[in-house]
Assembly symmetry: C2
Homo-oligomer: 124 residues x 2
């Protein structure tokens, strides 16, 4: 199990990858056989190729992430509340999300589950 | 799958059960064979008896819960950030937590996982 510091560093790198528009940096935080469920209840994306494609799309959309509270580290996991901020021309949207990352022994994300629903999307 | 409204009502009832010091009200929100992992990474409590004992202890401690952001509903789950506020004589403590509830078809909590670590505990 990685330390709380290591887990928080992964969260920081995830957020800064979006801030820098660097999809590769974000995708590189994941293990080769990682699983993404975003939002929870939809089909999982599994493995390198699908994860790279997912972040090329989502980082490429210009989305920025704002941390809304301290990351909570527990066992192999870190959970954190944040907002996704999106601009589409004059339209600005904000989605409040909670992500849960499972972090493996070498500090890579092996599972990512994103909790959010339609009620968490608002004009910003 | 229950609606987002039903899931949020469960979260509200959970928080108000603590506010009222009513452990039975909180325990009654759970299915008979529910699982609690609090914090994540520690042994699970399973079933009615263990759940009632857990809430008699935690509600009985006088802990109050403060919601720190909107609940996020996704699939069968609802995740929400909150603070646990504890008083022990003059000592006041605050723990920032994220809970994830799985809600079954009849609106009961079938799984509860609480994400928090030592770094999330502070003098208040």
């Amino acid at each position: 199990v990685t330390s709380a510091e290591q887990k928080r560093a992964v969260v920081d790198a995830y957020i800064s990858g979006f801030a820098e528009g660097n999809a590769q940096k974000v995708a590189d935080l994941f293990a080769a056989d990682a699983i993404i469920e975003d939002p929870v209840g939809t089909p999982e994306k599994i493995g390198r190729e699908q994860i790279v494609a997912f972040y090329q799309f989502s980082v490429g959309s210009g989305a920025k992430l704002e941390l809304l509270g301290e990351p909570r580290c527990a066992g192999a996991y870190v959970a954190f509340p944040f907002a996704v901020k999106l601009s589409m021309g004059k339209m600005k949207q904000r989605i409040e999300v909670i992500d849960v990352f499972k972090i493996d022994e070498v500090g890579k994300i092996s599972e990512m589950r994103a909790y959010w629903g339609q009620e968490n999307m608002k004009a910003d």
